[in-house]
């Protein structure tokens, strides 16, 4: 490249004329426009760093593995997203997931009883999970109990019911078709579970962008009192959102049962924290009204890439948790538009 000192371009000429404050403002504005995409850039940067240090990261087989480890978290986080956009929280993930996985394991061909309902059993179990989600919503709205408490209770009830159903033991799924969700790869591409998760993403995206419910969710999350005054059926929307969440946790239960080939009461343990983290890292604010399912996709991918990358780079297990914590804070710091928050709680 030739140094351009002798021939300043028109562009650099104008920028010299601009006052420093104005340039500052322009930079700020364009940064502000980029802000919502910060998690996406973080994901790209993270992938590039890992890929540079271990090129095997970009191998097709590894991309399949990353997608596979993201499938269940994605389905769960999609359900959580709408709840968080509402400004509520749903802690019942692990309980509902456990019920879903245990019911499915008990209804399809298994080594615990004589049932063999196949996909009909799966539908029943997922409907049951939707009903639990609906119950969450009804109790939350009807008795005016904060969603935090209702869903906390439902978490314990869920694990308790799953424990009762199995007496603390584990039941194995013998139904080949259910297992094929995790084991079969159509066309040598991703396992079916990944396609199921993408399907869930598509459906929730349509709900978010193309339906009235989708718009209502944001209106309520942005300001519930205003939303109510403008005639939005706040209570009904909330119940629907919790029902959608429960249904998706049930779907997550199906994928978990297919992946591990078994159902037990503790199959969901540890899922709550990773689900909320993925949603928030993706840029959906816990205060509600902001973010969405595409953010959640990015958040889940960040967590999946991170988990995969730390093993690929051989980061010592003692350090991993710390690294994960730092990256979570950085991702949220980059993506959250704190200037617009009046209060930070």
């Amino acid at each position: 490249m030739e140094p351009q000192i002798g021939h300043p371009s028109a562009d650099s000429g104008t920028s010299q004329i601009r006052s420093p404050e104005r340039r500052d403002r322009n930079v700020k504005r364009s940064l502000g426009r980029l802000k919502p995409y910060a998690p996406f850039f973080a994901l790209i940067a993270l992938s590039l760093v890992i890929g540079t240090m271990n090129p095997r990261f970009f191998e097709f087989n590894n991309l399949i593995r990353v997608a596979n480890s993201a499938a269940i978290p994605l389905v769960l986080a999609l359900g959580m997203t709408f709840v968080i956009v509402l400004g509520s929280i749903d802690l019942s993930v692990e309980g509902v997931l456990a019920i879903g996985a245990v019911l499915i394991s008990l209804l399809v061909r298994n080594n615990g009883n004589a049932n063999d309902l196949g996909w009909f059993g799966v539908v029943l179990a997922i409907l049951a999970c939707g009903a639990i989600g609906c119950l969450n919503g009804v109790i939350h709205v009807g008795l005016r109990i904060p969603s935090f408490m209702v869903t906390l209770g439902m978490w314990f009830i869920g694990v308790g019911v799953a424990t009762l159903l199995l007496g603390g033991s584990t039941v194995r799924v013998l139904d080949k078709e259910i297992r094929s969700l995790a084991l079969d790869r159509p066309l040598g591409l991703f396992p079916i579970a990944v396609w199921v998760a993408l399907g869930a993403l598509g459906i929730t995206w349509v709900i978010e962008r193309r339906t009235r419910i989708g718009r209502y969710i944001y209106a309520i999350g942005g300001g519930e009192d205003l939303a109510a005054l403008s005639g939005i059926p706040v209570q009904r929307v909330k119940i629907i959102v919790f029902t959608i969440a429960g249904t998706l946790y049930g779907l997550g239960g199906l994928l978990a049962a297919a992946q591990l080939g078994q159902g037990n009461a503790l199959i969901g343990s540890g899922r709550l924290f990773s689900t909320v983290t993925a949603v928030v890292v993706g840029g959906t604010a816990l205060t509600g009204g902001e973010g969405g399912v595409l953010n959640t996709l990015v958040g889940v991918m960040i967590m999946a890439v991170l988990g995969n990358g730390m093993v690929l780079l051989g980061i010592s297990p003692d350090l991993q948790q710390g690294v994960q914590g730092i990256l979570i804070i950085v991702a949220v710091a980059l993506s959250l538009d704190r200037a617009r928050l009046k209060i930070v709680k």
């Binding site: 990261f57 087989n61 424990t163 033991s169 584990t170 084991l183 109510a228 995969n308 093993v311 690929l312």
Partner: protein, 365 residues
């Protein structure tokens, strides 16, 4: 929107009514707590197991053992669960001590090591007999609390970590690369089992540990780590060692998703049903069973023997007071037999064989 007067919690209760109700409630509680004490005090002691939860197969089997022992002496049986909460664990034990007036024997798997001390002290104070398992502080000894603190039972993680390590090394033909999954870094069993694996590796210099990762005892985390390992090491992985069965199951399913189940041998520890089935199917090279049925029944039986005077704890040697139990290494050779005797049917245990499974006094570290 709900009108404000629908809010039930907002209804003010007059102060006097509140006091009266509280007094009534307190009175009722007092009566209730006195009444059963008389009923419980006489006759056969109540037998109590305190464990983490009934949601996992390990403690569920433990509980079955307790039920079987209680039935054998025709006693009331109570299961307490901590659900991972130390406070709850200790409070529940205090409550049952008060309820039975101390006429009970307790077999406890304390939620955390420090919990053992208040539990033992409460039992000594109430005159109950107690056996602890797995967790206790290193300076808390049964012989310092004669006769009520009867025994402490644990299993030597080093020995069995080494045993499964050796079984894995044998399965891969004595040379090649392996990877290993550990439990929560600060847990004693996790540390001990890893030490055991390292001993096995030291004796077999042709086997290389490619990487060690922590999956926090969980199958889901193991699944993702193993997937990533397959990218990093590919065919170099000849075998996978896991510090417990749950992680080993996650490992096996990750291998199955890559059509490698049965080709890359896996070992676990704990002896859950799924693991023993996997050994039978040739997908696991080995696991170790602690026989939780034995733990749940013999912990009670030893304490009950002290309570009824069949043994005098003060006269027993230290290796009967703080001992390592016997785990069973399960490999292809004995898996079918073990499955028949322990999984398909209730294990037969001689409740009077108190010291049959002692494999030595616990190391003082």
């Amino acid at each position: 929107m709900n009108p404000p007067n629908k809010d039930i919690s907002g209804i003010p209760i007059p102060r006097r009514t509140f006091i009266r109700r509280t007094a009534a409630l307190a009175g009722a509680t007092a009566v209730m707590s006195i009444a059963p004490r008389r009923a419980f005090a006489a006759g056969t002691p109540t037998v109590v197991n305190s464990i983490r939860s009934l949601s996992n197969p390990y403690h569920a089997t433990w509980n079955q053992g307790g039920q079987a022992f209680a039935k054998s002496i025709d006693a009331d049986y109570v299961t307490l669960v901590t659900e991972g909460d130390s406070e709850k664990g200790i409070a529940d034990i205090r409550a049952i001590l008060a309820k039975t007036g101390g006429n009970m024997v307790l077999n406890v798997d304390p939620n955390d090591s420090p919990d053992a001390r208040p539990i033992v002290e409460a039992c000594v104070k109430a005159g109950a007999y107690v056996t602890t398992q797995w967790n206790k502080p290193a300076d808390l000894h049964p012989w310092d609390f004669n006769p009520n603190y009867v025994a402490h039972i644990a299993f030597d993680g080093v020995t069995y970590g080494e045993d499964t390590g050796n079984a894995l090394i044998k399965a891969i033909g004595g040379s090649g690369g392996i990877v290993a999954l550990g439990g929560i870094l600060s847990n004693t069993p996790a540390i001990e089992r890893k030490t055991g694996l390292e001993k096995a590796l030291k004796a077999n210099p042709n086997v290389k540990l490619l990487d060690f990762q922590v999956a926090n005892w969980k199958s889901t985390e193991a699944f993702n780590i193993v997937s990533a390992w397959l990218t990093r090491f590919g065919d170099d992985i000849k075998g996978i060692w896991a510090a417990n069965d749950d992680m080993a199951v996650g490992t096996l399913e990750a291998l199955r998703a890559e059509k490698l189940a049965g080709k890359v041998p896996v070992t676990g520890i704990d002896g859950i049903k799924t693991a023993i089935e996997a050994v039978r199917a040739g997908e696991f090279a080995a696991t170790v069973s602690w026989d939780p049925y034995w733990q749940g029944s013999m912990g009670l039986s030893i304490a009950y023997a002290a309570k009824t005077g069949k043994i005098d704890p003060a006269k027993e040697p230290k290796e009967h007071r703080e001992f390592y139990g016997t785990g069973v290494l399960i490999t292809k050779e004995n898996a079918d037999e073990f499955y028949k005797t322990h999984i398909e049917s209730e294990p037969k245990i001689d409740f009077n064989d108190y010291w049959g499974r002692v494999t030595g006094q616990i190391r003082q570290s």
